[in-house]
Structures are given as C-alpha cells and as structure tokens.
Amino acid sequence: MNRTKLAFLLGAVLAAGVANAQINQDLGPNLGPKQYRPGSLLIYPILDVGSSTATLITVTNVNTDESFVPQYGVRRGAVLARFFYVIYTTSGCSLFDIDVELSPGDTFTVLASEHVGISGPVQGWLYVVAADVNTRRAIDFDDELATTPYFSGLIGEEMVVTGSPQMYLYALPAIGFESLAETSNRNIQGYMFSDENNDGEADFNDDEYDQFPEVLSAPLFLEQTTDIFRDEVVLLTPLFRFGETINLRSNFYNNNEDFRSVFFSFNCWTRLRIRDLLPFTRDLNGVSTELETGWFWIRPDFVIRLGQFYAEPPVHGAFIHELNLGTIGYWAANILHQEGEVVPVPGAIGNRGNGLPIN
C-alpha cells in the first residue's frame, strides 16, 4: 500500500514555518520550568543535562488525605519520594539518591541539574520510589487507603528543553509501576512495605511491582530520508550492576508491510538514532522522492550476566521524533508502547541485581 503521501506536504509545511521563525528570546534552562496510571515507582527514561539542555523532573502525590494517624502526627497522605539517578557512562552506570518529602496533594518539580550537582553533560535515566517518611522503606502507595476514592499514588512527567544550538522542548510521562505487595507488614500509615523479600531491591515480579513488558513498539516513524530526520529510540534496563549486556532483536516495517530485522545490544541505557541502527529506515520503499512512514517493535532477547545466559531481560524506553531544521528542532517524545510481561531474571550475587536498588 502506497498511500501515505505526507511527502513534501509536511516538509513544505515545516520548511515554511522555519522560514518565518523569529526567535525573540532564548528559552534557556532558567525558564523555571500501566501507563498513565498512578503507581508506587516511576521511571523517567531520559536524563539529559548539558550547558544548554535541561531536564525538568516532576513527581506529584495525588493522595490528598490530610487526616493524621493517631498518636504519630503523620498525615495519611504524606510520602517520601526517593529519587534514584542512574548516570550513564561508556564504562557503566553509577547510582545516587536524593529524598524529597511530599505532603498530601503535593507536587515537586526540579531541574535535574540541581540534583545531579553539575551542569553537565550528563545523560542517563532515573526512577522515583514511594517510601515511608520515617523509615525510608519502599511502600505500596497506590493502594487505595485514601478516604477519597482514586486519590492514591504517584504520577510524574519529565520535560526536556534546549536553547542552543537548537531550540526545542518535549515532554513525556513517567512510566508508572504499581506495587502489588500483599503482606501484613505495614507502616504506621497503613501502607504495606513493598520489598516483600527484604533484598533491598524493587523486584518487578508482579508481587512487589508490575512486570516489565515483553515487547516494545512505536506506531509511527517518518522515513528518515535525510539528515534532518534523526528519530531516536531510548532504552533502559534495571540490569546494570554486573556489567550485563542486553541483546535485542527488532523488526522495522514500512507501510508496504515489508520489514527488516536488526539485532543489537546495549548496557544500562542507550539512545540510538534509528537511521544509524538500520539504513532501511532511510528509504523505506525504494522511492527516495516520497516520504513514507513505518513502525517497529523491539523484543528484549537475552542478557549475558557473569557468564550466564538469561532470556527476556526487562527493558523499557521511549521514542523521540526529531526533525532538525537549522536552529529549530521539532521534537516530540512518547513512551514506547508495550505488550506482554517478562518473568524476572534470577538474582545474581546474594540474589541481588534483578531489580532496582531502593535502599
């Protein structure tokens, strides 16, 4: 089917737009500044801090229960949001955490550079864990104990803004994981502690937290005809503390239902241009004068850790549409679509390393 005639229509629209662009003001980092369902652990797949690039991280506590727990002076809707930053380097990822206490109905937005402590460049990802305000232990905060129905859990969003050499802004929601803890071990507010096996990790096993998906996909990418198209896929894994290499396979489809497969790998976190990953994306139908669209799926295949082979490692990520026209970048991002669940890879040393650290 050769129906998608976005060709020069879209290109012309954008080119005309840029020709008329008058940049009156540099919008720098000082602007101040089950997907989409509240959860107890949020993953933000992109951390991008540079001299002219800022990432705004927001976490919001939708639990508005202001009532006090008798004798303890703690409000039922209060929560400790524990920010864990995973900093990517070519030799591996490092981790540090910062705590922020959220009152009932509170929201907190921070320039990631304030938490990272340097102006960059820093790349990677982060996750925020709902924890008990006194003990800092992770809790099932999306459990509906609140007096008002539905007002429970954490929601979040990140926004990336760049002022130079290109100007653009994009936002994407955090990936929300619900806690599914079932234990009699509760904090003074009544929330269950989510680390059921007390291994100091958030395990994505459908007990402590939701599982990771089996397949990731993006419904749309524009043909990467020229260098102005630089769509990127961002991938992350919680398996990064033992030098694990995640191996994936992917099919990229054009709109004639032809596809090409590609096998690739990454450690901890990656950000790949699809035009570099697979040249097929640059000329989907062999007709270079017509802009076509395609889609793709990615399936985490296996991981090698400490010499051992494990199938279906946990991976999630995002997709960024990028059209780079001079000083203007037309960027938009979404979380990758998902389907299925993967069984957690067994722990490594001392049963550690199959989840995300929360202590």
Binding site: K5, N24, L31, L220, F259
Partner: protein, 355 residues
C-alpha cells in the same frame, strides 16, 4: 426449563459476569479501538494521524481464496472525526475506512481531507472491523496509534500524543458471534448477543472510561507573563455528546498543596487554556516548601461531574470523559510546545460512541 437450558443459562451468566469485570484503558498497550483526543485542521495547525496493525500473522484463513483471500492478521479500520468550527459549533462527522494488512501502518494528513473545512477541530476514534464484511466491529487488540500536531503559523512547533487504546473482552464471550478469522464481534458482547449498533465502553465490548483524570505538572502560568499558555483538552465519550452540556469538576493545585476548585462547561469537545479552569494557575505568592531546588509548578485533577441533554433536559451524573494536555510557551514565532495524555484512574461506565 430443561436441565440443559439451566446449565446453559448458568454458563451464560458465568461468562457474562466473568467478562464484565471492571476494565479501564491500559495505557499504551494495543487495543481494538483508539481515541485520538486532539485533531486540528486550522490555519495554524495540521495533524498527522497514524494507526498501526501490530498483528503480523500472514497465515491464510481456510476457505478464503484469491482475490478475496483473507489472512489472520488482516483488519479493516473505520475512523470517525467529530469536528466543529469555532464559528459554527455544530458537531459533524467525517469518516473513512482503511484496510490494513498484517503489520501494516496507515498515516493520514488531516489537511488532505478536502471535505473537512479549514478551522475544523475535534477528536477522532478508530476501531477494528472484520475485513470479511467491513462492518462488524471485532475484538482485535492489535491496534496502536499516534497523532502528531504541527504548528504552522504564526508559530512553529510540533508535538505528538499517543492514541488512547481500548481493549475488548468480546473474545471471552463464547455466546458472541465469530468472524471468519476467529475474532468475535464486539457489539452485543456480554449481553447475550444483543447488538445495539453502538460501540459501548462497558468493560466487555470495550474497556471502560476512567473515573478521574490527572495532569502531573503545569508551570506557574505567571512565571513569564503572557508566555505560558498551557491548554487542556476534554472530550465526552458519548455518541450524543453534541447535545450534552458537560460539566467537568476538579481542582488546580499549586505546589503548596492549595487547591483551587473549578467547574468547566463544554459541548462534546474542548481545548482551552488552563487559566480558564481557575486563575489559581497563576500563583500570586509563589513559595517553595520542598527546598530551594523546587520550581513553581502545580497539578490538576478532573472528572466528568454531570451532563445535561439540551433536547430532553435530562441530567446525567458522572459522565465519562477523556483528556490531554498541551504545554505551551509562546515565544515570538517559536512555540515550545509538548503534548501528553492525561493520567487516569478508576473506571466509569456510560460511554458509547456511534458505529
């Protein structure tokens, strides 16, 4: 009633109860019906709409032969755009159908729809139908989609948002009619195969609408006066939405946990500045309570409070709505714009759309 009848009746009840459990949209997982909350064909904005068939099963359905051969992963997708003009707020429908092969994707530049006038704004829904007759809506949970909105004049920007997918549970209802591919027809599922000609979001035909919506973050709209113009989008999930005055209720919260409540009315669909919900989105005395690093932001909750039918004057409580959010920083000819779906929780019955 014979013993066999009693057993069958009991089974039917069991099945109906089983498939009627509360279901809500599952975020970004494929579904049988997609809702795109924001479609624009205006002088300032155009929209690229995409839907993709992630079913890549090319096996031929037995009993079908060329040229009418049908593969297991084939599907037809019917799409409907509900639109109105600012100058003429009567709601109208633009529709079409596309056949998708296994693994196929289809993109549509909305401005290329000649019958849609410039200035049209609204939302779109697309649903899977049987490629056998192009009529029967089917449980085919393999569709994903996305919309890209391109700002043209006087500002230049681009943002995208995924379609909201709704799965079907019709395949679990063994009483329901089966298509030649083995998918079950959604219309009438869970009701003893009594089709009503509607796409019903009752947890069986399609997952329910959510009970509550959230936007995690907006910047204090007074931070840079006149520049920040965040917008919120609401749509009513009812085929008779054009006749219903819908009231959304909720709160805009600042970062000191102070809520400003609001009631906001719209017909069928709306895209409005959040300032119009409540001026509390401009913080009069912004203060930090989470340390010096904190930026001045707030969040929003929303629920469909009630609707009143203009024709019959019949009120309905707890009407089903969906929504999206557009961050806007308008800096001269450059628009720093980003779109996202609203978060949601809970389930709400009562949504239905026309086939």
């Amino acid at each position: 009633m014979t013993r066999k009848d009693m057993v069958m009746a009991a089974l039917a009840l069991f099945v109906a109860a089983g498939v009627a459990s509360a279901q809500h949209p599952e975020g970004n997982r494929p579904g049988s019906l997609l809702i795109y909350p924001l479609i624009q064909k205006t002088a300032n904005e155009d929209t690229v709409v995409c839907f993709t068939n992630t079913n890549t099963d090319f096996r031929v359905v037995p009993g079908t032969f060329p040229p009418n051969e049908i593969r297991r992963g084939d599907v037809a997708v019917v799409w409907n755009i509900l639109w109105a003009l600012d100058t003429d707020p009567r709601w109208q429908k633009e529709d079409g159908k596309e056949n998708l092969s296994p693994g196929d994707t289809f993109s549509l530049l909305v401005s290329s729809l000649g019958s849609l006038p410039v200035g049209a704004r609204g939302f779109m829904y697309a649903y899977a139908v049987s490629p056998d007759n192009n009529i029967d809506p089917i449980d085919f949970d393999f569709l994903t989609g996305e919309a890209i909105i391109v700002g043209i004049q006087p500002q230049n920007y681009l943002f995208s948002m995924p379609a909201i997918p709704f799965k079907s549970e019709a395949n679990k209802d063994r009483n329901q009619r089966e298509t030649i591919q083995g998918w079950r027809v959604t219309d009438g599922a869970g009701s003893n195969n009594n089709p009503d000609g509607l796409l019903t979001f009752n947890g069986v035909e399609y997952y329910q609408f959510p009970a509550i919506l959230y936007q995690p973050m907006y910047l204090d709209q007074g931070t840079v006066p006149g520049v920040l113009n965040d917008e919120i989008v609401f749509l009513l999930g009812r085929a008779d939405g054009a006749d219903i005055r819908t009231t959304v209720a909720g709160n805009v919260w600042d970062n000191r946990e102070n809520p400003g409540s609001y009631f906001y009315d719209f017909d069928c669909w709306t895209r409005t500045r959040i300032f119009n919900l409540n001026p509390h989105v401009i913080f009069q005395n912004p203060q930090r309570n989470n340390g010096p690093d904190e930026l001045f932001t707030g969040w929003i909750d929303a629920r469909g409070a009630f609707g009143v039918n203009r024709v019959t004057s019949v009120p309905t409580d707890n009407v089903p709505i969906l929504g999206a959010f557009v961050h806007r920083a308008d800096v001269g000819a450059v628009g720093f714009t980003a779109g996202t779906l609203l978060w949601w929780d809970g389930e709400r019955s009562g949504a239905f759309l026309a086939r």
